[in-house]
Symmetry: C2
Subunit: 512 residues, 2 copies
């Protein structure tokens, strides 16, 4: 076998555990690997102090290095984040590693490649092997400057790593990129794959065929987002091909505790991570939008793709006219009471002297289609699409569509029929958080229209078994209502049954 | 796009749910797929009555076909198991499908390829498209007869499928096999991948590059063992390459309920499935040995590989000599009391007139190394290896090793030092179950030696929180003791604390 294997479970897996691991898992890890055909173990970062809690293997204090060295017969590795480390930090960070650590790797954004060369030289001076882990491989074609500089790695690094951060490359891309690098340097080349598209194994085997000198994997693929190539998969595949002998007992011993952790933390690929991979979008960003649940996956992908391609998908609309004044407004949410009591709510609305209806959800909006006052549809999040799907016979008489302030992070989507009556808010001022929420948008709209009384209907809260997402939404709305009360201009009143503490309860039946 | 996509989630996923699916999941499935660029949906099997419970989508009664047809705009497919279906079953099984089902696929062992041709002709006569799903692709090189018959598929089947049942092929194998098939027939070719080595995507994309006309996938990869290529991965990858438009909302709608089921049922690859894939071993067999936990993964892989390669790994030893007679025996298990009370047990043994020690576990065996009577080590399951690891200074004076009857399903392993004193039992007669258990082996050994009294020590049972495996072992031992009591020859007595109901409790301290 003319290539080396590096396992970086503790380092890359730390993204899930904040770099803290149970003592007995670490013990099993080192003990099992002593019986496995792997050359290097990367145990963590060395780092300057950061402004948040980061665990044991993010800093790897000396006693961690000592313990690892005493337990492991393998060459040990630590990694530095180039963006946070300068040449003058090197003595402090790395002198304690001498005698314990064989290789120091540096995680490098290709944009900072030049700067990293100096850092690498300082590391090399202390006698370590140096690994140059250049990230975002699937986007290198856009990094012309970096591509022209690769040869400067000569004599500075022992390994030049192609890191598929997005899990977005295919075997043919590995071949192409390998050739590009090889044409510029004789430095040994490495490959670090991610598994968004479940191509980590085939990409790694392709890299080996190309002639790389080192490849990475982690136990059960434990690692940021979709995770890495699984060490057990790589070893089993190489064993199946007759390239290595393998102690499957040692392998299953180390896999077992990490499989148990995986059930808890859930690394591995899924649809959003696949999307990130297939389109080289940062998985952190895709996931954070997906879990915020305001937007559909279609919108998120469209917006992020537009952004990454530099396409303009935002429209700077006219601001909502503050001259349109109403004495009161009723914000109608999507809760069941909005439908159940719609007859009474309709009657209540007809009785008011100067009221407008603000629909924060498309769900109940059809129930109020015959009311003759101004109806405003809030198009935050995915509501533009939902409204289009649900509200078929839309006339634009007495209707407005309101969008969040420009620019909108997920782009602008307005149903065609509403384009002529679409406005945006200038800003959302009454709350410091949850500016993407339809409820925030509805309240700021009411405040912009200068209302003195603000009613809510269809804000029921959730009874019985509550899903995590519902709980989040409940807490978010509660925070928004609290901000509104603090703001002091109006008192929010719910005229249908509600579980929100910060809505003052009244009954629609007492008001008609 | 010049190839078709087939989703077979309900059919292949049925292996996990016994072909029953919640109504609302099926509803979501059909509805979402109406908005996805997939051509065929395979909804299940049609089958003759089988002698066990198999659910709705294993039989697909007419109302299931009707409902599917009413909900789906896609071409619907069912599959037949060739091994269970003959030509004369075709009218009964398939006439009810006319008007609902577009394609009938046939799952075929290459050994039965010829026979399947007749079945296919009968299916074709009813007007269906016919898919010929030939299994075990990674072993076809050993199926010379079949390889010479492929051309007979001409005019019989519409699609000739290469099915990677073991999830064991690599992209280069897909290319080679495609060429072998293409050289014999102009029939359209299909590919059905499994994901043991996470190569299902790259193999499928390779098959597409080769020019196959149809490929399969299932939502979240739901399918037997390690499962299939994930539909969402294939669609996302094809979309990322610009080959298809994709409604990610519809896709995430159908993925969500299956992801929830996956948490419950746990399909997806793991180390034993990877081993199956890398060595083309039947995953069902690997998993059933792994979960039986008698053997280590090393032993299982060695034995199954030997079997599949036709290598002899069994040694027919001499049978245990029935002339060696003892009045009594003590079977020492691995429970903590075997160590805790070892002093008393040693004293008890010395006091007996004619006793032998039978070690059913290596765990406590060191505690009795100085006793001067015959010591017998039971080498069922993994005990040969365990004994070697734990019992360093083994002398063979007054020692025997006993193995289960020949041939042993996991081969023969005897520590070198014990080879000269190793015997096997002729049969295990006293119990109808658990013949692989060390306790069964120990008891049958005692009975063979003609004991009148049979003592147990170190059979504690489990207190506190019990793991599934421990519970299984407990129930298994209880069954074994019960069989022994029914057998009537001796009464099993435990002289250390025990939770087993079928061991008669006495105290070692009362006996010394």
């Amino acid at each position: 076998m003319n290539f080396k294997l590096l396992d970086c479970t503790l380092r890359d897996g730390g993204y899930y555990t904040n770099w803290d691991f149970d003592k007995d898992i670490v013990e099993t890890y080192f003990k099992s690997f002593n019986n496995l055909p792997v050359d290097y173990l990367e145990i963590g970062y060395r780092s300057n102090p950061m402004k948040s809690y980061l665990g044991e293997y993010f800093y790897c204090p000396t006693y961690v290095l000592e313990e690892a060295k005493s337990k492991s017969t393998k060459k040990l590795v630590i990694i530095l984040n180039e963006k946070d480390v300068r040449e003058d930090h090197v003595p402090n960070l790395l002198e304690p590693c001498i005698g314990y650590i064989s290789m120091v790797r540096i995680a490098i954004d290709p944009k900072n490649f030049k700067r990293a060369l100096g850092l690498a030289a300082a590391v090399k001076k202390l006698g370590f092997e140096v690994g140059f882990n250049v990230m975002y491989m699937s986007n290198w074609e856009n990094e012309k400057e970096f591509l022209g500089q690769i040869k400067e790695v000569n004599g500075v690094a022992d390994y030049f790593y192609m890191v598929d951060s997005f899990g977005g490359v295919y075997p043919e891309d590995v071949k192409k990129t390998f050739d590009i690098v090889r044409n510029q340097t004789d430095t040994k080349i490495g490959f670090h794959g991610h598994n968004n598209l479940q191509l980590a194994l085939v990409n790694t085997l392709t890299a080996i065929d190309c002639g790389v000198s080192i490849v990475d994997a982690t136990v059960t693929g434990m690692g940021r987002g979709a995770g890495n190539l699984q060490t057990e998969l790589l070893l089993t595949a190489l064993n199946g091909k007759g390239e290595i002998d393998l102690d499957f007992n040692a392998l299953s011993q180390v896999v077992a505790p990490f499989e148990a952790m995986q059930k808890e933390y859930g690394w591995g690929t899924n649809l959003p991570y696949m999307v990130s991979g297939a389109n080289s979008l940062p998985q952190k960003e895709v996931m954070s939008w997906v879990t915020k649940r305001y937007y559909s996956l279609n919108s998120i992908i469209r917006a992020l793709s537009n952004q990454s391609r530099g396409l303009e998908d935002n429209v700077d609309l006219k601001n909502l006219d503050e001259e349109k004044k109403f004495k009161s407004a009723i914000i109608i949410g999507g809760g069941p009471s909005g439908k159940k009591h719609s007859k009474a709510i309709n009657e209540f609305i007809e009785k008011q002297e100067s009221i407008c209806i603000i629909h924060s959800s498309s769900k109940n909006s059809q129930e109020f289609k015959d009311v003759s006052t101004l109806q405003i549809h809030c198009l935050a999040g995915n509501e533009g699409h939902r409204l289009e799907d649900s509200y078929i016979d839309m006339s634009i008489k007495d209707k407005l569509a309101i969008l969040p302030p420009y620019p909108r992070s997920m782009g602008t989507y307005i149903p065609e029929k509403l384009e002529k009556v679409a406005f945006q808010l200038e800003a959302i001022n009454f709350t410091d958080k949850f500016h993407e929420s339809v409820t925030s948008l509805a309240i700021e709209t009411a405040l912009t229209l200068g209302v003195e009384k603000l009613y809510f209907a269809g804000y029921d809260g959730y009874l019985g078994e509550i899903k995590t997402q519902e709980l989040e939404l409940f807490n978010e709305n509660e925070y928004i209502f609290k901000s509104l009360k603090k703001n002091g201009k109006v008192t929010p009143v719910s005229i249908t049954p509600t579980l929100y503490d910060n809505l003052e309860p009244q009954s629609v039946f007492a008001l008609i």
